[in-house]
Amino acid sequence: MGKTFSTPKSLSDNMTHYCPGCTHGIVHRLIAEAIDELGIAGRTVGIAPVGCAVLAYNYFNFDFQEAAHGRAPAMATGIKRVRPDLIVFTYQGDGDLASIGMGEIIHAANRGEKFTTIFINNAIYGMTGGQMAPTTMPGQRATTAPTGRDTDQTGMPIRMANLLGELVTPGYVTRQAVLKPGQVNKAKKAIKKAFEYQVEGKCFSFVEVVSTCPTNWGLTPLDSLKWAQDTLLPYYELGDYKVPE
């Protein structure tokens, strides 16, 4: 029997800076696998966000650009418009995409820009140390919501996949999770499909991935997976929100 499992070529050997139990590593791997399987690494440009994944380019083996906070979709637009032959994706967290970068993601999606966005939703700001995000759950504690998110003052969590799914412009919008092995397999299929749509030049593609942040949630990695499963998934329902014809 030959070798059945190895590191994707598009993933670098660098040790990541991510905390124990963080799911960024899983999603990085899924992206690298999809890019390898499609054979597109040589024409791919990733866009790193501001947030925990700001150093994401250290963990991949292809071209990267680094955006300002929230601006990755505008940069991806610039690249894709002048070089439609390149495969472009943004990798963004919830503070980056759903707060400061809301304008950029909505308009890029609505123009039907033919790039891919991988959106990591872990309901909190990671890099800056656990502040409330637009995706933070009601009552969930954060350093800027020490008694829990007060929805009277801050509104309800934003469901990005639902929001983008409502746009009339055709696109591929899905919400996945990486809390259980079965979910990881489905997320992989969704990420690969998102890149396939881009390779075909078909539409904007958006994969929201419900993730964890054990450090800033103050939970163990295992408890984080359980909390996300029990608390996040009932509100952030998994599935496709828009599929191109």
Partner: protein
């Protein structure tokens, strides 16, 4: 080539195309929206890219992304829009990618007005965005020079791998003048394979390129800032441009003025000459790098008793003039910045008070 009569804003759009730039991203703002209205029709004729972004903030990053993958790209805007692009300009400077920004300046601060102004001198030459960077700033005095500077800007941006700004004003954008587009100002794009994230297959390389501005290691950040500083020192040596007008005679007063304002000053100088009053003009064509030595030499000419900086601002370039003259002559200032451009008669009145 025969001259054609064109509005400044349209001529700037055409100049970019003639310089070999086929990518334009912009957001509408008075008094320069004609650039976009011109290029939306013109770009498809050259298989170019035209995109109206959702904000100047986003446009700044569309420029950054396109420039980061090695393509010639530019945008045009006006003062409040340039403020919003300031963030991206800082990132573009730090990441060392070439891009051209045109600011058709209007009155400020705040919404200000839509008439011509030179109130963005500080923003263009001293900052705008955060951090240790400078913009190479070219200041045209009319439509022909706006064309030539726009064309040269792409070459300069690539030479220094950084942002270059054309600092015009609402009058230059709106007025019509006969222009020509010198073919020799179009240059071949520089080789970008060693830095642009253009896709490894494109440059047939196994080495990937990163376009970034984060340097967490203090030494790396210091080194990047030293690399930027070295460029600015080189600009000071190689790119200074200025014009002297009526400076070969013994003048008692030296005017320093740039852009639209300098043309009115020239008219005033001609009118005073007929009265037997000699006044010289030193016009910086690059605002950064500033013609430090030329300003000093012109101001300290033996016949020259005092200097006056005349601007469509409340006094911005005058600070650089003071810096360069080093206390050797009295420095005066006159400026208006509501949108009315000071008339030659007004300038003559001010000059006569100094005599």
């Amino acid at each position: 080539m025969a001259k054609v009569l064109m509005k400044g804003n349209e001529a700037i759009g055409e100049a970019a195309i003639r310089a070999g730039c086929k990518n334009y991203f912009a957001y509408p703002i008075t008094p320069q929206s004609e650039v976009a209205e011109y290029l939306v029709k013109r770009m498809p004729e050259v298989d170019g890219v035209f995109l109206q972004g959702e904000s100047e903030v986003a446009v700044g990053y569309m420029i950054f992304g396109a420039a980061g993958c090695g393509e010639r790209v530019f945008t045009t805007s006006s003062s409040p829009g340039i403020s919003l692009m300031g963030e991206a300009i800082s990132y573009i400077a730090a990441a060392q990618v070439p891009a051209v920004f045109v600011n058709i300046v209007r009155g400020g601060p705040g919404l200000g007005g839509i008439l011509p102004s030179q109130g963005d001198y500080f923003q263009a030459t001293k900052g705008g965005g955060h951090g240790d960077y400078r913009l190479l700033v070219l200041a045209p005095d009319g439509v022909q020079e706006a064309v030539e500077m726009t064309m040269k800007a792409f070459t300069l941006a690539e030479k220094y791998r950084g942002p270059v700004m054309i600092l015009g004003d609402g009058l230059i954008g709106q007025m019509m003048e006969p222009v020509e587009f010198p073919d020799d100002l179009r240059t071949e794009p520089s080789n970008k394979d060693d830095w642009a994230s253009s896709g490894m297959d494109t440059r047939k390389s196994d080495k990937r390129n990163l376009v970034k501005s984060l340097f967490l290691d203090p030494k790396e950040l210091n080194d990047n800032n030293l690399a930027l500083k070295a460029k600015y020192i080189q600009m000071k040596k190689e790119e200074v441009l200025y014009e002297g007008y009526n400076t070969d005679v013994d003048y008692k007063i030296l005017i320093t003025s740039y852009g639209t304002m300098s043309r009115v000053c020239k008219t005033a100088i001609d009118m005073m000459k007929e009265e037997g009053i000699e006044v010289g003009l030193l016009r910086p064509k690059t605002l950064f790098p500033f013609p430090e030595e030329a300003v000093f030499n012109a101001a300290t000419k033996e016949s020259c008793k005092s200097v006056i900086s005349i601007e469509m601002s409340m006094g911005q370039m005058v600070e650089d003039v003071e810096r360069c003259v080093k206390g050797q002559r009295e420095i005066n200032f006159y400026g208006e910045c509501g949108g009315d451009i000071p008339t030659p008669e007004k300038i003559i009145e001010i000059i006569k008070e100094l005599l």
